[in-house]
């Protein structure tokens, strides 16, 4: 149905239909495009903090310098107002600008390559007619010469970008297929959650392409994107599908809360999707098998007992009691949908403790949204705790209540403190 409507708009046949009907179809395509732009979280990069929607300007740190997202409003001079549908498609799915040069792969065109023709057309309709044009010039990257030359990017594209084609599902389950389409395509979850190879390319772009897919990324801007695979101790093995869908909707569940870069993904993208799409995403993610068949974190009660007795003999226990316990409690379970649990929280068991050090130093904020209006703050402790204290308390949390994360050194803390 949708396919038919979109086609109608885009072919000369539309000349034959009445202007009113055209406007109605147009509106439908624009609305659909807006929804898809949410699903693709275009805003996350193409809108600067406090800036006009889609006018570009947000800097993305790369190992060789910052790249700035461009103005994608329909402004003819600075934006994409002069783009035809074909130009738009070239950029979004093929990674090639109107001038023929290759985009930095900070633009996740290798993922968008899986988006359907009709969704691209709807996105185009939205960006041309549903977005206010803004005359804001694009900003050059901070990448120095000679790395800033764009022609080698074409080699990267030839080597790593997949063929533009919608994945044909391997299962007859439409919900699972919808989830796969959203996660691997517009959702571009792998951009952060899939480890990258020597050429900074995602090691795999789909579930059929090895178990690197969504197995957790390297730290980016001080946050580690965790594994979304079925691993029990550090992946999503201990999550239920419903819990995951609720997390995507509200940023919080009975035992956890979103933090770091994922906060914006919930705010700008996931909270705006339909329940059906969020459930599809959750089901698809839950279908990814674990990399390691390690057992789930086994809760133990010794830590709670120790803390309730104010036994501070373990390094970090004292710091935990004085700074963390008021909210996260002696049993490490926090309070449902208020303060996240530390006990059995898979995010604490990953190899890389960067996120945890980061949040202890700088704090965090779980913003309210349309589905869960309350915002909760976690205060930062950088002003109060030294490197050794942070290392001790993070190590304590990563090993308490049955958690199995490795210890953290004060040097790691010092390094992170310098970066923020």
């Amino acid at each position: 149905m949708m396919k038919k409507l979109t086609r109608t708009v885009l072919t000369p046949l539309c000349l034959a239909i009445s202007a009113a009907a055209l406007a109605a179809t147009d509106d439908a395509a624009i609305m659909r495009g807006e929804y898809l732009a949410r699903a693709g979280d275009c805003m996350a990069c193409h809108t600067a903090k406090g800036g006009q929607p889609y006018a570009g300007g947000l800097g993305l740190e790369t190992p060789i310098g910052a790249v700035y997202a461009t103005n994608i409003t329909p402004d003819a001079e600075h934006g994409i107002g002069a783009y035809s549908l074909k130009d738009f498609d070239k950029a979004v799915r093929h990674g090639i600008r109107k001038d023929g040069s290759t985009l930095y792969p900070a633009m996740p065109y290798p993922s968008y390559a899986k988006v359907t023709d009709q969704d691209i057309a709807a996105l185009y309709a939205y960006f041309m007619k549903g977005v206010q044009p803004v005359a804001e010039a694009n900003r050059d990257s901070d990448i120095p010469w000679p790395m800033n030359m764009r022609w080698p990017l074409a080699f990267w594209r030839w080597t790593f970008a997949p063929k533009v084609a919608t994945e044909t599902g391997s299962t007859p389950d439409p919900q699972l297929e919808r989830g796969r389409y959203l996660v691997n395509g517009l959702g571009h979850c792998g951009s952060c959650h899939t480890p990258r190879g020597i050429g900074m390319q995602e090691k795999s772009l789909t579930d059929s392409d090895g178990d690197h897919f969504l197995a957790g990324g390297a730290p980016l801007e001080g946050w580690v994107a965790k594994s979304l695979r079925g691993d029990a101790h550090d992946g999503l093995g201990s999550w239920s599908t419903e819990e995951l869908a609720q997390f995507l909707k509200t940023g919080r569940t009975e035992r956890t809360a979103v933090f770091g870069s994922m906060t914006d993904v919930i705010q700008h993208s996931m909270q705006h999707l339909t329940d059906a799409d969020r459930l599809a995403i959750a089901r698809y993610l839950k279908s990814l098998p674990p990399v390691n068949a390690s057992p789930a974190v086994k809760a133990e009660s010794n830590t709670a007992l120790q803390l309730s007795r104010m036994d501070v003999s373990t390094p970090g226990a004292r710091t935990y009691i004085d700074n963390c316990m008021a909210c996260h409690r002696s049993d490490g379970r926090g309070y449902a949908e208020v303060f996240p649990a530390l006990a059995g929280n898979p995010v604490l068991n990953g190899k890389d403790a960067t996120s945890l050090i980061h949040i202890v130093l700088d704090g965090g904020y779980l913003p309210g949204n349309q589905h869960a209006p309350t915002g909760y703050g976690m205060p930062g402790f950088a002003w109060r705790l030294g490197d050794q204290e942070v290392a001790d308390v993070v190590s304590f949390i990563r090993s308490g209540w049955g958690n199995s994360g490795s210890p953290v050194s004060p040097e790691e803390v010092a390094k992170q403190r310098m970066q923020h």
């Binding site: 909210c327 309070y335 208020v338 909760y376 703050g377 109060r384």
Partner: protein, 598 residues
């Protein structure tokens, strides 16, 4: 040009509703008015405040900054009141935090309160008719100007319930639809349902009080507390955390998100609404009237840069603190009260709260662990509150609740020593460590009646930082209320005796004791823009609508005709929802018209 001339005034675009003061009442009214689809501009004289920014743990549990230096309180060097004891006296400015602690900024005093969320007794709302009916027309003495609220408990019941559900009040009902329930307050008016959350756990001191009071045949109950006893999602979808008994409620923002405040219950939703705009550091100086003087055209305020700004509005809601509501009215709305003739209404029937206590020193070896405390969790009896007991021959009207509630064991203010013990040096240290674990207070929180000579007007001498006259408070204790306090505090002393203490001290005022503003007593100041059925004796009608200017509503404890033997916030919240309901259901269909015809 700090206050500018009218020719300098900036004029904003007209809005449907302007709200003056964004505390509890302002937030409730903003939520209700935006719900009704109206555009709302809320003006708050203080800064924006929120939990993550202004109640961040552990910075917020700083007794010196918050309790002693009053970080969240009104800056008295810029704006204050003057106080005197009688109409013949000379009033002087209240320059240091003492008798009451006025809030400032978004959330108002609702950000730093303790959370006690009582309902008044049904008879409290029809005080004059109740006493007259039960004891005869001569029972109310000359010069006591008490009167009825003009709205009944039954009419307000759904709105008490609404406020309690929004605030996540923890408690135990004693009367649901006339059925008395063991463990609750059997004196309370009939409720439609149970409290939204179960009572907070009883700290040790409460357990001792509870046992002693029961041994004397009293039925005790848990004080209704706006401190969530469990995580709780309110009807707006806002979620509160649970109280962890940290002992830093009063004077502090709550880092656990568990103390009910506009921040933890309403503002998260309000801030997301497109038809709501909040402007902070906007100090309203005047309600503007049209040439007839019968309709308001909006308000004028001074912004953070010192510019005078006019905000036109179709409906003006005054929801500042009680004292500030009255001061705004005194500038140009309604007839000011004159104590000599008894005529005029604005400023009339100012009242306060009467507190007594019994300090109980328990035997050595008692461990109260007073640092385990909550703002509002406590145990009380209501046998001597309101007219729950026969007043024949007692020589006074009114009453007080008796109870114990432990707000904490903080190192500066809550390390007192017993009377006569040294307050310096080694002797003091020894006394503190002896006292800390075994000393507790039973309090009596009592009503204060309204009198012909207790009122508010504008000070003829002193002005605030904007050049406007300060509000003048004329107030002193009256024998009626002191006799009441002595009577009830002696009853509390009987409970103290039943606790088998090693010693106890009864602290009730003596007849003739003047009002001493240097010491904190209570921030429960009331009246001055009271509600009622007659425009000759009230400023607002039963819907809190101004008699003289029907598109102005004045909401808060300023509407109480006299004060009750409870904390006022439960009644303030209910009156706000009651008024909002009248605006939504009736006023908006016929805007600018009085809801009660004279």
């Amino acid at each position: 040009m700090a206050s500018g001339g009218n020719d300098m005034a900036l004029k904003k675009r007209e809005t449907d509703v302007v709200i003056v003061g964004l505390g509890w009442v302002g937030s409730i009214m903003a939520a209700e008015m935006t719900d009704a689809g109206l555009n709302v501009v809320a003006l708050e004289r203080g800064p924006d405040q929120d939990t993550p920014t202004d109640a961040s743990y552990p910075k917020v549990i700083d007794e010196l900054a918050y309790s002693i230096r009053g970080k969240l309180f009104q800056d008295l060097s810029k704006e204050t009141v003057t106080i005197r004891h009688n109409p013949a006296g000379v009033a002087l400015p209240y320059r240091q935090q003492g008798t009451f602690l006025l809030g400032n900024g978004v959330g108002g005093a609702g950000f730093h309160w303790n959370g006690l969320s009582w309902r008044p007794l049904p008879s409290d709302l029809k005080l004059r008719s109740h006493y007259t009916e039960r004891y005869g027309s001569k029972f109310i003495p000359q010069g006591m100007t008490i009167q009825d609220h003009g709205v009944s408990f039954e009419e307000l019941e759904p709105f008490f319930t609404r406020f309690e559900e929004v605030a996540g009040v923890a408690g135990k009902a004693g009367n649901i639809k006339g059925r008395l329930i063991e463990g609750g307050n059997k004196f309370e008016g009939a409720r439609s349902k149970e409290y939204p959350l179960p009572p907070l756990k009883k700290v040790y001191g409460e357990q001792l009080f509870d046992k002693a009071a029961r041994s004397l045949g009293y039925s005790t109950f848990s004080i209704p507390a706006g401190n969530a006893s469990a995580p709780y999602t309110n009807p707006y979808g806002v979620r509160l955390g649970p109280c962890n008994f940290c002992g830093f409620c009063e004077n502090y923002g709550c880092y656990m998100y568990s103390k009910a405040s506009p921040q933890t219950t309403i503002l998260p939703v309000l801030r997301q609404r497109r038809n709501f705009e909040m402007r902070t550091l906007a100090h309203v100086t005047k309600v503007n009237l049209d040439s007839s003087g019968k309709q308001a055209t909006g308000v004028t305020y001074i912004d953070a840069q010192g510019n005078e700004v006019e905000q036109p509005a179709r409906l003006v809601i005054l929801s500042a603190f009680q004292l500030h509501n009255v001061r705004l009215l005194l500038s140009n709305i309604g007839k000011p009260y004159d104590p000599h003739t008894g005529e005029g209404v604005v400023g009339r029937n100012y009242a306060y709260q009467m507190l007594g206590s019994v300090t109980v020193q328990l035997p050595k070896g008692t461990y109260l662990n007073p640092f385990i405390g909550t703002g509002a969790g406590g145990t009380a009896i209501d046998n001597y509150n309101g007219d729950n007991f026969d007043h024949s021959g007692l020589g006074f009207l009114g009453g007080a609740n008796i109870g114990h509630h432990r707000t904490g064991g903080r190192p500066i203010g809550q390390t007192g020593v017993a009377k006569g013990e040294p307050n310096w040096g080694k002797g003091w240290k020894g006394a503190v460590s002896d006292n800390y674990q075994r000393s507790m207070n039973l309090y009596t929180q009592g009503s204060v009646m309204a009198y012909r000579d207790t009122y508010l007007d504008l000070d003829p001498t002193y002005k605030d930082a904007f050049g406007q006259p300060l509000l003048r408070v004329t107030f002193n204790w009256h024998d009626n209320d002191i006799r009441m306090s002595q009577y009830v505090t002696n009853k509390a002393a009987e409970i103290a005796v039943a606790m088998n203490p090693s010693s106890y001290t009864v602290n009730a005022k003596k007849i003739g004791t003047p009002y001493d503003t240097r010491f904190y007593q209570s921030t429960h100041t009331t009246g001055g823009a009271i509600m009622g059925a007659d425009p000759k004796t009230s400023v607002v009608n039963r819907y809190l609508q101004c008699w003289d200017v029907p598109n102005v509503f004045v909401i808060g404890a300023s509407a109480f005709p006299q004060n009750i033997g409870y904390n006022p916030t439960g009644l303030v919240g209910a009156l706000a929802y009651w008024s909002a309901n009248a605006i939504r259901e009736r006023y908006l269909k016929n805007p600018g018209r009085p809801l009660v015809e004279v």
